[in-house]
Symmetry: C2
Subunit: 470 residues, 2 copies
């Protein structure tokens, strides 16, 4: 195929692969939900090569699917099964950290840098790159930005979007939009970068980003807390927030989730027996060493216990204990997978609506699938609870459960949206939630997004079939 050899000419034959075995990892998402075979996987190593690949693919009528660490949960980095012929453009070789400036609290990284590598580079400069989530050891900066990744630190430092000072993007026609300024204030026309952040590769290819760093944390205190209800958990959250402590993590976990962690986890030990109905993992921090963090946390927990918001609590006494609390949270998804088939969701509601959301969902799911087991775990501090419905214990037939409880996700989404929330909090739309977006977004919103898409990618060659159909 002529177009493929043109591409091979740009990146070198070794970096333009077409054999099934080489392509296989790029032809399926990491949960195995989405399959799509690209005509080739192309791995440019410079911005110029990316631009060349985009131009050549466009000229040949090949769609372009940008891919990073491919840890996304909505299928955005895999070609659509029935879409046009496509290449996967993998950014993995574009992986230099171009600059770290401690004084400016900034770092410039190429799209293929693994998130953890960036975190480490920041730490070496005495700074913190504060985004954090389970897949950070595999996920790459380009994917993090294209999906506007969230995670457990959002309540303190925002989503990935909030950590960007500037971007470098290859547009669908191969031109390079160089907006890598590291200034904190720049009001010179539209903030174009925000279209590519969270744009899931449909408007261009992010090739590098100037990222914002924050002061390194010098004190961290974590607690594992038993609470009687989501309402009590939110009471605790409000209390700690209003105290003025710097809350950097606040996870809410149903007992069933902690039971699964204990049952399937390797080397996990729960700090409290899984007897309370709900648990909270809370973490506060300070960049200055003189902040009396321990006292602040003890004080808040004692007052919460007095008011019935907390039934029991363990404050981590060592870094090992602290690491254990967060290992439970990080290993949870794997433990839940081992429990058996389940259907999951990714909703967010305003923080104050978390109790109403969880209670309503629990009631509706129990009424409809009394045999199911609801798991609820998530970033309560920013309203992002991941609800899922597990098959009864011992159930092994995954497709049968998915079919039986297929209505679970729309049901939960509807509750979230009715409470002013989102059906897609942190995972994005990809190819998974096109129908949901079409259903929940207003026609004006969809039409405006499509107008932007047509303006920037009139040929529709950038990741077609993702976010919406044109």
């Amino acid at each position: 195929m002529n177009a493929i050899s043109t591409l091979a000419g740009i990146v070198g034959p070794r970096n333009c692969v077409t054999e099934d075995a080489d392509i296989a990892p790029y032809a399926v998402d990491w949960r195995g939900s989405w399959h799509g075979r690209p005509a080739a996987v192309v791995k440019p190593a410079s911005v110029d090569e990316v631009a060349g690949v985009v131009r050549a693919a466009g000229a040949a009528g090949l769609a372009i699917v940008p891919a990073g660490g491919r840890t996304g949960l909505a299928g955005a980095a895999v070609p659509t099964a029935n879409g046009p012929p496509a290449i996967v453009l993998s950014l993995e070789r574009l992986n230099r950290i171009r600059d770290v400036d401690a004084r400016d609290f900034s770092l410039v990284a190429e799209a293929g840098c693994v998130v953890q590598t960036v975190q480490q580079a920041a730490a070496e400069a005495g700074r913190l790159f504060p985004i954090q989530w389970g897949a950070q050891g595999t996920a790459q900066i380009g994917g993090m930005l294209s999906t506007n990744a969230g995670g457990i630190r959002t309540l303190r430092w925002g989503n990935a979007r909030e950590l960007v000072l500037g971007l470098e993007v290859v547009l669908p026609d191969g031109r390079v939009l160089d907006d890598l300024r590291r200034v904190r204030k720049d009001n010179s026309g539209y903030a174009l970068r925000h279209m590519f952040i969270g744009g899931e590769g449909t408007l261009g290819v992010i090739t590098a980003a100037a990222l914002r760093l924050v002061p390194a944390l010098r004190r961290v205190e974590s607690a594992y807390v038993a609470v009687p209800s989501p309402d009590a958990a939110l009471g605790l959250f409000s209390r700690v927030m209003a105290s003025g402590a710097e809350v950097i993590g606040f996870e809410l976990c149903a007992r069933f989730c902690m039971e699964m962690a204990a049952r399937h986890g390797t080397g996990l030990r729960l700090p409290l027996p899984a007897t309370a109905p709900w648990f909270v993992m809370v973490e506060i921090a300070a960049a200055h060493p003189s902040v009396p963090l321990r006292e602040m946390l003890e004080e808040a927990l004692a007052a919460a216990m007095e008011d019935g918001e907390v039934s029991d609590a363990v404050i981590a006494e060592s870094e090992a204990q602290r690491a254990m609390i967060w290992k439970i949270r990080e290993d949870y998804p794997d433990c839940a997978r081992r429990e058996g088939p389940a259907i999951g969701t990714d909703t967010a509601v305003p923080v104050s609506a978390v109790p109403a959301f969880v209670n309503a969902a629990e009631a509706e799911l129990r009424a409809r699938w009394p045999e199911g087991r609801m798991a609820a775990i998530g970033h309560a501090g920013d309203g992002n609870i991941h609800l899922s419905l597990h098959a009864p214990e011992g159930w092994t037939d995954r497709p049968a459960w998915l079919a039986r409880a297929a209505e679970m996700e729309p049901m939960v989404n509807a509750i979230a949206v009715s409470l002013g929330g989102s059906f897609s909090a942190e995972h994005g739309i990809g190819q998974e939630k096109l129908d949901e977006l079409a259903h929940y977004a207003s026609p004006v919103e969809i039409a405006t997004m499509q107008a932007v898409k047509r303006a920037l990618d009139p040929q529709n060659i950038m990741n077609p079939g993702k976010i919406f159909r044109l």
Copy 2:
């Protein structure tokens, strides 16, 4: 004129004014630099009325210039002098605070709310709406967002953009884009709100916003510090930041600025004599009352003094002393105006480049206009220094000075841009800096902005002639 009576029918005759006397305040910007007479000033009081006005104006071929508190410094809220017939759409009657939710740390305000009113509503709920700048008693939320306002707190909480959870916008065709969700995480398609924020009214009319609040501050400490050089000031800044203290203000002021403040200010008293070449106003804060803020500031200043970064310092001993420090800063622009004619700039550079920027500009200005007097004051903590060149003492002929030093602004802008900075940090482009944007932005950037503009406003009726010419 038929279109005007249609508009009067939508908002009521009293709210559609056409008399010279009524229109005069809307026909000039507050510095008196830009004049443009609208055919009418239309004051809708609801989103529906805004939509009706936009549709009727569009149908009649009238351009629409949205206006808020009209404190902008780039002429965006005034019709262009030689532009198409236009109406000013003033949001002043759309001024309800729709919702304050302390538990969610959120507030929903209509575009016509005065910024200070929103700050007060947040304070009454025990929260902080952290943006702060001189014009906040007049500026409105819609204008704040359309210009992505900055101010003295940017280094801690970002620009106006970072404080937005959701927007309600009337599009150029009169449709309403309702994206007022208050969720912290929402990855459902493009983040359209970021096109309208900083869009200077060229893409639609912001009618309301869901805003992010933060915990109220319970401790604040301010100091007024004499420093030997911009380099020393930046050393102090790095030191305080790296200490982990929560720095919420860091202003750098040249001696000449403090001399003007002392000479022209009413009730201003400098905490230190204006003998040092440079001064810094630094403020650190904490939301938790147990943070030993005073000790943190004293420690940092003592170490800085030992290292020669600081020659003298006064820590405010009372709220009155603290207020005085910041009153000097807030009253400064008025004092500078009273000194006589001057040409100003609005640049930002990466923080680490502030000393190089100030030194280079000082040398070039002195060489070219030895008779001029350079003033430098600004938000050094985010790299945004406002340099200006004053005429010699006693000079009164403003046009003559502007003509003589006309090259000053481009000269300073070029230095900022050469250091990786911006020629338009916080004031925006409006009708003032079209040529600069055309000069400094890459053709790709301009073309991409114009593509977005054409996609959303194909008729070019929204604030034409601002940001760029089409």
